[in-house]
Amino acid sequence: MPRIGKPTDLSNRILRLSLGSEAANRELRWMKEAIYEARPKISSVDFDATLKSYVKRRATGTPLTYVLGTQPFGPLSIKCRPPTLIPRPETEDWVTRLGQVISSVQSGSQSPISVLDICTGTGCIPMLLSCTSRSPITALGVDISEAAVNLAKENVTEAGLSGRIQIIKGDLFDDTFVRTVLSKATSQDGFDVITSNPPYIPQEEYDRLPPSVKHYEDQLALLGDRQGSGEADGLSFYHRIAELISKENLVRDGGILAVEHGLGQSAAVQNIISNALGHRVRRLEAWKDQWEKERAVVAFL
């Protein structure tokens, strides 16, 4: 009968296969910390069982964030569940920066800055803005996925931000979209700020995504080609957002449009926005992320 090693030895062996021993040890430690944090008085029997189950799920390819159920995002801890998109560190970076400049938008009145976040997913963008902005924020987050909307609502409630952030279900490409979101806006001129991290991956790249992304995260959150449109550059959502802003009073003059995009898409996204909004755009900025890649286009209107 082969000798069964202690749970920790087993774990090490499994993790090391895919990650390399340093990363594996670190993930193991994070798992242990997460278990103790969630249940400080957990019995050692339950602890071992839980840890083993975590390792098993992880070893089969489940992203660590889904195993642990949370993702650190700025000073926040965002609850995560498949298939809703896991918040990325690149997003954390530009949204933190946006929070630092957003106060310039305030018209001088006492009212909070109103934000519309399109394709809100876990709700991480409006939540982080609420933390990093010096001026108070009220936000509306919209997502087409019911799973995302439910998760975002849980996140907002747990963070104590229900008074400031509202989450609704909606389809950007639907005719009712504008009416729905404007009915929640505090001003007739629209929102002060529009943010979005829309799906931006072209079909061809989508097909080549690593399993940890493709097999676990929602295609709806990733694929940027509108089905049936013939578009194959991942930019469908930017066209739609720019179009809506140019035709409707979605964002007021003096406001900001900030969108994340994929590698190599900065110029194209800048063009889409300039072409659609013309003179409304006072200044267009291309922001780089921590890895020195162009990651967000920020238009000051």
Partner: protein, 413 residues
């Protein structure tokens, strides 16, 4: 409490002679004999009085300086700070001078025809003598040793296992426990900043490769600063089957840190432009394309080359904050070391703890003793040291020794 602590002192040290007053036997007349007392006092304490005089002159110079000059606000703050620090010495000097003058006057009254006046004068002389000798023996020495410029700092303590593999890592855990206990006794809050543990290898769990903790509280840095250096342990390791004694080492580095921005801002400031932030590993297309946890951060201070990596937490935000904290501490430590080095160049006393790779302490388990090599102090109750109690005694002795060196240098100026 410890059973026995022998102090084995191998180094000669300049000691401050306690100045005693001349005994009564003297051929001189009563009056001149009395005056002689004060003069003798001044003569024996001349070195210390000279130092005091010089400080008072420095203070007078600062007072005379043109306040409206083009000096920067930092210079003004420093001037105000220096003046404030010299206040107590100024007061003490005034009291000394007054007492000295009164003494001379009182002495003339000892020959007064009126017996009542003679009696009063005798009393006065006695009490003034007390005041004068107290100043020379206690007040001036305590005021001349400058108050710790680091007393408001908290401490960041880095422990690293050195020579000895698993055994060294186990000793890191022991020393960590010792420091945690001492910090608790002193009322400092302890938090782990980062830790790298040995994962259950060969059944010897509990070893720590590297750990950084922060002890927060006023005076924490001053308590732990003497721990920097190499600690040596001699004992039979847990894994050793044949009972042989092994020698392992760990390295401890203690850095100053402060939460209060004002303290560090006037003391020193890091220009954010001087710091390069790098995130580890290439991430390919990044963004939506990738969902690997990438939280590692490295900060490099370009002018000095000092760099700090942090990847302890899943949160990049948290790693960045901790890395900044450690970077500040390392830069502040570097600045303090430079200041110390400058002072050392002017000093003639023995340089202590100048080399961070110096072996400062040995913990010998078979002989149940701990020896601090800097002051030649041996404690023959190792457990008591590891529990933190006796460690405080060692630290107190190191602090005293440090103050005595500072004093010796002052007198040799």
């Amino acid at each position: 409490m410890f059973r026995a602590a022998s102090r084995l002192n191998f180094r000669g040290r300049a000691s401050i002679p306690s100045v005693r007053l001349a005994s009564t036997a003297s051929k001189a007349s009563p009056q001149s004999q009395n005056l002689d007392v004060a003069q003798q006092l001044e003569k024996d304490a001349s070195r210390i009085l000279n130092v005091v005089r010089r400080r008072i002159e420095e203070r007078d110079k600062l007072l005379r300086e043109d306040v409206d000059a083009q000096g920067s606000s930092t210079a003004h703050i420093q001037r105000a700070k220096a003046l404030k620090e010299l206040e107590p010495l100024h007061h003490a000097w005034t009291r000394w001078t007054d007492a000295r003058n009164s003494f001379s006057e009182t002495v003339t009254l000892l020959d007064d025809p009126d017996p009542d006046i003679r009696a009063l004068a005798t009393e006065e002389r006695a009490s003034l003598t007390e005041v004068l000798s107290e100043h020379v023996n206690t007040v001036f020495p305590s005021l001349l040793v400058p108050p710790s410029s680091t007393k408001h700092f908290s401490a960041i303590i880095e422990l690293k296992s050195g020579v000895g593999g698993d055994e060294a890592a186990l000793f890191v855990a022991d020393v960590l426990k010792m420091y945690t206990r001492l910090a608790a006794t002193r009322g400092f809050r302890v938090e782990t900043v980062s830790i790298s543990q040995l994962e259950g290898s060969k059944g010897s769990g509990g070893g720590i490769k590297e750990v950084i903790i922060e002890a927060t509280g006023e005076g924490a840095y001053d308590v732990f600063r003497w721990e920097s250096g190499v600690h040596r342990v001699q004992r039979v390791p847990a894994t050793e089957s044949q009972g042989r004694v092994h020698t392992s080492t760990i390295t401890v580095m203690v850095l100053p840190t402060s939460d209060a921005p004002e303290e560090t801002e006037t003391d020193f400031k890091i220009d954010e432009k001087d710091v390069k932030t790098e995130v580890m590993r290439a991430r390919g297309a990044g963004g939506q394309h990738v969902n690997k946890t990438e939280s590692a951060v490295r900060l490099t201070h370009i002018p000095t080359g000092i760099s700090v990596s942090m990847q302890d937490s899943r949160s990049q935000h948290s790693n960045r904050a901790k890395a900044w904290q450690i970077l500040r501490a390392r830069l502040l430590d570097r600045k303090l070391q430079e200041e110390q080095a400058e002072k050392r160049d002017n000093r003639r006393s023995i340089i202590k703890g100048a080399d961070r790779s110096e072996k400062i302490r040995t913990y010998n388990f078979p002989q149940n003793r701990v020896t601090d090599h800097r002051i030649g102090l041996t404690i023959t109750n190792l457990d008591s040291v590891l529990e933190g109690d006796e460690l405080q005694y060692v630290i107190d002795e190191l602090q005293k020794d440090h103050e005595e060196s500072v004093m010796a240098d002052l007198l040799n100026e």
